[in-house]
């Protein structure tokens, strides 16, 4: 899986989990301001990402993740995929 595929999957999952239109889920989109996601939504979204990619994302690593792009980077890093 390359980074582009990871990004596509992450965006699809987030759109579903956060119940927002897929075109709003861009790398620059901010979870709180642009996607109206609260802390509970983020926990649920991370559960779904962990499930999909078979990775473990501890809470403290999510603390700095504010945008979709940062979430994609985190997942890619876990999978050992670089840009």
């Amino acid at each position: 899986m390359d980074k582009a595929e990871i990004q596509e999957k992450v965006c699809t999952i987030l759109a579903e989990q956060l119940a927002v239109a897929p075109d709003k889920v861009t790398p620059a989109a901010r979870f709180s301001e642009d996607l109206d996601a609260d802390s509970l939504d983020l926990v649920e979204a991370v559960l779904a990402l962990e499930e999909e990619f078979g990775v473990s994302i501890p809470e403290e690593e999510m603390e700095d993740v504010k945008t979709v792009g940062e979430a994609v980077d985190l997942v890619a890093q876990k999978l050992g995929v670089s840009a």
Partner: protein, 410 residues
């Protein structure tokens, strides 16, 4: 001087229909909503029928995200509240003077069970962060308040099969005492699930009758348990003066409320109707009415041997000779038992009986029982001039609530 309280909107979401027209038309036609269960496999269960709300799409009432984040019990509540609010003509209100009292018997059990399964099979770190707000019984009242932005008194009364009646009764008192001007008061339940079928069945509470359309038969000699149902109903209650001033269509007045406990057994009713009598008497006293002036009683009438006999005794002891002149019907013969939603829906039915001059029947009444010898309005709706109606609700836990619903005379 205490204020008067009127019903200006009704929002049923029930196995016999969604919305006033559909639900009321079914009731007066004697059309039941008990069917073979469709939402899950029943092949291993002792009971395979229930009153389910089918063709219900929560997305018609809530945005997609809230649908995901909340349990079916809250979906029903928000739907009922919105239907009732529309039915009341969407009055313009002061949000801080508008309260919500939404009860349930059980809460978001389906979500709890789903997460418990995840927890057991896959571990603590797979449990959804939404489980707590989904399962808590007061979630429905919270969701309704959020949908409307109403920030007046907001609570939830959990009294099993009497919960919906307590909600209407307590909301009536808030308005009567001047603590709020408008209330959305209702009950909701979404517990038709394999586990609850098993559990109520182990109590011998559910009918084992396989014929869905004949299963719920309150006051009939061959009754042998209730039918588990799901749904919700909300009533819009308003200060009468305000409702008249805004030209609201008024169904009826909530004229009295009586509450009591059997203090006897955690599930069985006191056989002589002790607690039920106290609640009926307290309700009539509150309404300033006499037993002989009651035209109609929407009975608790669950179709269990014990309830229907005890309720009949309670009516006879409270009403004396007048017991044989009052029309008593159980709409649970058609809806099944909506548990925490029952009392709110049935108070709405009492109001509709007054408005329409028509009493819905007790269907499946075929064989008279010597211990149930009142006029149960068997099988066919009856035209009647109903001025004063009571709605009885008696819960597991021994908690009783009775409402008096009266034609509104300004």
């Amino acid at each position: 001087m205490p204020r008067r309280v009127v019903v200006t909107g009704i929002g049923p979401v029930t196995p016999v229909g969604v919305g006033v027209t559909e639900a009321w038309d079914a009731l007066v036609a004697g059309r039941g909503g008990v069917r073979p269960i469709e939402r899950f496999d029943t092949s291993e269960l002792p009971v395979r029928i229930a009153g389910e709300v089918l063709d219900f799409d929560p997305a018609e009432f809530l945005d997609a995200k809230e649908v995901r984040r909340s349990d079916r019990v809250s979906h029903f509540a928000v739907a009922a509240a919105k239907l009732a609010w529309r039915d009341a003509g969407e009055p313009s209100v002061e949000p801080t003077r508008t309260g919500v009292l939404f009860s349930t018997g059980i809460g978001g059990l389906e979500s709890l069970l789903k997460q418990h399964k995840t927890f057991l099979e896959r571990g603590a770190d797979r449990v959804s962060p939404f489980m707590v707000p989904q399962l808590m019984p007061n979630a429905a009242a919270g969701h309704v308040a959020m949908e409307f932005g109403f920030s007046g008194p907001n609570t939830c009364i959990v009294t099993a099969c009497a919960a919906g009646a307590h909600a209407v009764g307590e909301a009536y008192r808030y308005i009567k005492d001047g603590l709020a001007d408008t209330f959305i008061a209702g009950g909701t339940e979404a517990s038709v699930l394999p586990l609850t079928i098993a559990a109520f069945s182990q109590m011998q509470a559910l009918t084992k009758n396989r014929d869905a359309s004949k299963a719920s038969r309150p006051f009939d000699k061959d009754r042998n348990g209730f039918v588990l149902s799901e749904g919700a109903c909300a009533l819009i209650l308003e200060d009468a003066e305000g409702a008249v001033a805004r030209g609201a269509r008024i169904y009826a007045e909530i004229a009295g409320y009586g509450a009591s406990a059997d203090a006897y057994h955690i599930t069985a009713p006191e056989p002589e109707g002790y607690g039920a009598i106290l609640a009926i008497q307290a309700c009539l006293t509150d309404a300033g009415e006499r037993p002989e002036d009651v035209d109609y009683i929407n009975a608790h009438g669950t179709s269990t041997q014990l309830n229907d006999a005890a309720e009949t005794r309670a009516i006879k002891k409270t009403f004396g000779d007048a017991a044989y002149r009052v029309a008593v019907s159980s709409t649970k013969s058609m809806t099944g038992h909506l548990l925490g939603a029952a009392g709110a829906f049935e108070a709405g039915v009492a109001a509709l009986a007054i408005t329409n001059g028509l009493i819905p029947p007790t269907i499946n009444y075929e064989t008279p029982d010597e211990v149930c010898d009142l006029d149960y309005v068997p099988n066919e709706a009856r035209k009647a001039d109903v001025r004063l109606a009571l709605s009885d609700s008696f819960g597991f836990g021994g908690q009783n609530a009775v409402l008096a619903v009266k034609r509104f005379e300004p």
